[in-house]
């Protein structure tokens, strides 16, 4: 890796292994404007916002420039400022600038940079035909009139998710970013992961907004609105209120939701405990039966959709467990039937999730009872932030209130479901016979934790060597499957999360770079550390919740079969 000294605006700046000049500039405390640069993605160098000027007056993009010893550059010369302003003006000229009613307003990078560079006038006209709005997906909405052709969505969908659903089409003046043949997303293999919307700097791809439906339910007196909150949400929601990533805001959220008119608030962690127990028992049964292996986790609906769309032969390897959200939904709706009959209200169940794919999952026919979805509505972390703000509630000032009983309690192993490796670790805690702190310590230090995209661990379960793999970023799972097919590796259990870093990095979370996501993960591990119960099987409300149901009823509520005959 290259080492040396660079000069940035005359200042000496040492570099050591930074991948490009842009990273060195940022290290020196100068925030360079970019549209098309993400450290996780390939360098595209198209937006030209990150330009710098060298000693000979040559202008080039810093995101694609190698640091060199003795290199001297300027980041803010008069020419550069003019150049950036011109780019922005051209972008705005072909952009539908209806900011006030745009979904991305306030979070839009184009808006932010236009403001920062003082663009107040657009001298050019746009005569291109307006491409159709696409709201066919249950997860994201595309508005091509807002696209600045930065290619971020194209690269994330191809390089991180491995789907390649959207790409550039045509060229020059007519260039656009679109699914093949100008199709709508619903006509493609899109898995609803939403990562394209998470990287889109403008309002061209946004999360499908269901805030209106949520308010209607809350204000409808004939409905009992019952909420569940996923683990990853609590450690990200504070970011929108000036708090550090990773701070657990669950108890403040409970108070806020009650103030907003929600009737009952529960914790998805309880559902995660259900999943851990069911999935670990299934895993043990497969060990006894000798397969099929590898067993894949089933919590991530985008992963399931990928298998259905592109690799159905592995559906039989997926755990039959519903996701924690859907287990929770099925059990809750069952339990509340009696209550509904008693007071004549209908229970309306809202799940607050870090995830756009959960919107798609909730709408699947498998998860409905007599045509009514078990989870009526999924709101993302960002949507609940918007609703809290709309209500004028100052979240950090809320009193602390624990979630309601009986489903408001989950173990530490349920909380860590929100980050990559958490599900595998929860199952391992259940399966390992030693129930002392030693096991917890051993797992904490094992490769099940960490940020490497593929991690493996070998555990001794009652004399059998169990090989576990943990993978996040769907392309890595696709590659791992290829290696398994080639006979290079094999595992008993594989945890797959579509989003890099797992659900803390879900597309429903507030927008943020990778370091924020890792801080959220750290926040979940801290919560686990301080939890009274660390194992799903020790969850004190579990037995009561499941009492009175037959094996068959439980199986029906908690399991699903994705294999199509």
């Amino acid at each position: 890796m290259a080492k040396g000294i660079m000069y940035i605006n005359g200042q000496r700046v040492p570099f050591d292994g930074e991948p490009n000049v842009l990273a060195v500039i940022r290290k020196a405390g100068i925030e360079m404007p970019t549209f098309c640069y993400y450290s996780d993605l390939s360098v595209y160098g198209a937006c030209r916002m990150c330009v710098v000027e060298d000693e000979r007056g040559k202008i080039d993009t810093s995101c694609s420039m190698q640091p060199r010893d003795g290199l001297s550059i300027k980041t803010n010369s008069a020419r550069l400022l003019k150049h950036r302003r011109m780019i922005l003006e051209l972008m705005l000229a072909s952009h539908n600038c209806n900011c006030t009613i745009c979904e991305k307003s306030g979070d839009c990078h184009l808006q932010e940079l236009a403001l920062q560079f003082g663009v107040r006038n657009v001298r050019f006209e746009d005569n291109r035909e307006v491409l159709p709005f696409d709201d066919s997906s249950p997860a994201v909405v595309r508005d091509p009139s807002k696209c600045i052709l930065c290619g971020d969505c194209v690269r994330v969908c191809e390089e991180t998710i491995g789907m390649g659903v959207i790409d550039f089409a045509k060229r020059g003046y007519n260039m656009q970013v679109t699914p093949a043949f100008g199709r709508t997303l619903s006509q493609t293999n899109c898995i609803s992961c939403g990562q394209c919307s998470a990287v889109c700097p403008t309002g061209a791809i946004t999360v499908y907004n269901q805030i209106g439906a949520a308010w209607r339910a809350i204000h409808d007196t004939s409905k009992r609105v019952v909420v569940q909150i996923a683990p990853a949400v609590r450690v990200a929601v504070g970011e929108a209120f000036g708090l550090p990533s990773g701070k657990n805001m669950l108890d403040q959220m409970v108070t806020a939701l009650k103030l907003m008119g929600v009737d009952e608030v529960y914790d998805t962690t309880f559902g995660a405990d259900l999943t851990t127990i069911q999935e670990a028992e299934e895993f043990k049964a497969r060990l006894a039966a000798g397969g099929p292996f590898p067993m894949f986790t089933s919590c991530c609906p985008a992963w399931i959709k990928y298998l259905e769309n592109e690799n159905p032969k592995y559906l039989k390897n997926v755990s039959s467990c519903k996701s924690p959200m859907e287990m929770f939904g099925a059990l809750l709706k069952e339990k509340y039937q009696a209550k509904d009959a008693e007071d004549g209200r209908t229970t309306y169940h809202i799940a607050i999730m870090p995830c756009t794919a959960k919107k798609m999952e909730a709408a699947r026919p498998e998860f409905a009872t007599d045509g009514v979805p078990d989870v009526d509505l999924v709101l993302t972390t960002q949507e609940i932030i918007d609703m809290i703000k709309e209500s004028g509630i100052q979240l950090p000032q809320m009193e602390l209130e624990s979630p309601d009983t009986p489903f408001g309690f989950g173990s530490g192993s349920g909380v860590i479901f929100g980050t990559t490796g958490g599900v595998a670790e929860a199952v391992a805690r259940y399966c390992l016979p030693d129930k002392t702190k030693n096991t917890l310590r051993k797992l904490e230090l094992s490769p099940l934790r960490g940020e490497e995209s593929i991690r493996e661990a070998t555990l001794d379960v009652g004399g059998t060597e169990i090989r576990i793999a943990v993978v996040h970023g769907l392309i890595n799972a696709q590659n791992l499957i290829k290696r398994i097919e080639a006979g290079e590796v094999n595992y008993h259990l594989i945890e797959v999360m579509t989003c890099p870093t797992g659900c803390v990095g879900g597309a429903g979370q507030p927008i943020g770079r990778r370091d924020k996501k890792l801080e959220r993960a750290a926040g979940l591990y801290t919560t686990d550390k301080t939890a009274i119960f660390k194992r799903a099987e020790f969850n004190p409300v579990m037995d009561d919740a499941l009492a009175g149901y037959s094996e068959e009823q439980l199986h029906h509520m908690l399991h699903v079969n994705y294999v199509k005959e």
Binding site: G164, V165, D167, A169, K170, A180, F181
Partner: protein
């Protein structure tokens, strides 16, 4: 068979390149040479065999003007609209063809599937302007009247052969 395209043949062409991604453009050229255009099914097949997203294949197909995504007629008429031909009145020739073939709006191929009308910029034969090619055969110093006569002649031959 879909639209006269044999999917076995398409697969054979892809396989002849070892189904390599790096040969995407060559594969598309070969298929187009055979069928004159690339149907959605063809692009899907290429994507599947090369294990890339169909959006990527569509991206390449729409980037290069040489690729056509629409079925084309048996006779491809290219009217040159380069500067020399334009100055020497290529536009009235183009209009006469459209009128004769009854092409409406964005329609490029005649209803009987016989002709497809396109424009090109400079065929490199400016001295012969205005120039029209029909299936790569060059017709120089054209007029709207001569053009219509040519079309009628082809139509007659086709009818006789039918």
């Amino acid at each position: 068979m879909a639209n006269g395209i044999s999917m076995e043949r398409v697969e054979a062409i892809i396989d002849s390149y070892g189904a390599q991604r790096s040969n995407l453009i060559a594969i598309m050229q070969d298929i187009q040479a055979e069928y004159k255009y690339l149907s959605p099914q063809v692009l899907e097949k290429i994507a599947e065999k090369l294990n890339i997203g169909v959006a990527k294949v569509y991206s390449v197909a729409t980037f290069y003007e040489n690729f056509s995504l629409e079925a084309k007629g048996k006779y491809i008429i290219k009217v040159c609209d380069g500067t020399a031909c334009h100055v020497r009145k290529s536009q009235p020739i183009y209009n006469a063809i459209r009128e004769h073939l009854k092409l409406e709006g964005k329609q490029k191929t005649s209803a009987d599937g016989l002709f497809t009308l396109e424009t090109v910029s400079c065929l490199g034969a400016c001295g012969l302007a205005p120039v029209v090619t029909i299936n790569d055969q060059v017709h120089s110093k054209m007029t709207p009247e001569a053009m219509v006569a040519l079309l009628e002649q082809i139509e007659k031959e086709e009818a006789d052969n039918a």
